[in-house]
């Protein structure tokens, strides 16, 4: 099975933007999506070991992205999934909270982002065909 990229964001537009940006950047991995932290769980379980990278929205109704990440880092089988936190919150406190919950955070992407910012974050984790 080819490694996949999981996008977890309640905003359809933000999921579309990320998905399109990844494709435009030359990423060939299959992109799977969840519109809430709760609906991400079965996707993560079904794809254990095959998630190359996860984009996680900070602010979501019900369970937030930080709360989902807090759960994932505690479970050995999911602790190593590289997670990029995606947020509109530009404050240092939000960033610090995310890194405190997951010191191995793969990246912190501020909305609205530019393609070069996205590429520099994903480059260590996925193959990019220029």
């Amino acid at each position: 099975m080819l490694m996949k990229i999981l996008i977890v964001d309640d905003s359809l537009l933000d999921r579309k933007l990320l998905s399109r940006s990844l494709t435009n950047a030359g990423v060939k991995n299959e992109i799977i999506q969840a519109d809430s932290a709760e609906s991400a769980f079965p996707l993560i379980v079904a794809n254990l070991g095959y998630i190359a990278l996860m984009f996680l929205d900070y602010q979501m109704p019900q369970m937030t992205g930080v709360e989902l990440m807090e759960g994932l880092v505690k479970v050995p089988s999911t602790a190593d999934i590289p997670i990029v936190m995606v947020t509109a919150s530009a404050s240092e406190e939000s960033r610090a909270t995310a890194y405190k919950v997951n010191p191995n955070l793969a990246g912190y992407l501020l909305k609205p982002f530019k393609p070069d910012q996205l590429i520099s974050i994903i480059r260590p984790y996925v193959k990019i065909d220029a």
């Binding site: 905003s11 933000d14 909305k111 609205p112 982002f113």
Partner: protein, 195 residues
């Protein structure tokens, strides 16, 4: 010696200035839009209905209008108990939403699709709220937690949840280049200062 004395608390009108700066930073630096005029700021009395704020989007521009509300909380505990300090509501003409979002590199949206319009307006409100919270932090306030966005078109039948002790709000009208308009309403109680 650097001045380490605590900063004075921000008044609501001070927060309005922070909001104006946040919108300017977002639309100018990230979206490439200029302003056609300085923001117009109007103080208004909050009209309540069953302890919720009456909000009429249609009255803002006289055309189909989407609006989204983001609430702010002093901390995670307050967020969990929905004890909001204030609320920011962003109004935008549905006909202009697609182009505004496109300036931030979002995909074009179908302006007839109500679901995607609501999602788009919420996305814009979320971006503005994020920059506003950062501005408040820079002004010495505690880091406010943000709610998920709540979206409507034209009117919120049941009103918008807010801090009922507040009696006034500010309406800020931004006129962007190309006659595109964003209007914001801000109501906020006392925001604690950091430290």
């Amino acid at each position: 010696m650097p001045d380490v004395s605590p900063k004075p608390p921000l008044t609501l009108s001070g927060m309005v200035q922070v909001l104006c700066a946040a919108v300017r930073k977002l639309v100018l630096l990230k979206g490439g839009y200029g302003f056609a005029a300085d923001p117009e700021i109007v103080e208004k009395k909050i009209v309540q209905f069953r302890q919720r704020m009456r909000v009429d989007g249609l009255a803002k521009f006289g055309v189909r209008t989407a609006f989204s509300a983001v609430k702010f909380y002093a901390g995670v505990n307050e967020l969990d108990h929905d004890e909001a300090l204030g609320v920011l509501i962003i109004f935008v003409e549905t006909d202009h939403l697609s182009r505004l979002l496109w300036s931030f590199d979002y995909p074009r949206i179908d302006e007839e699709d109500e679901e995607i319009i609501l999602d788009g307006c919420g996305t814009l409100a979320n971006l503005i709220a994020g920059y506003f919270v950062k501005g408040l932090c820079d002004a010495g306030c505690v880091h406010l937690q943000m709610s998920h966005f709540e979206n409507h078109i034209n009117t919120a039948v049941n009103g918008i949840n807010f801090m009922p002790s507040q009696e006034k709000k500010y309406e800020i009208r931004f006129l962007l280049q190309g006659n595109r308009r964003i209007t914001a309403e801000l109501s906020m109680g006392h925001v604690p200062m950091a430290g």
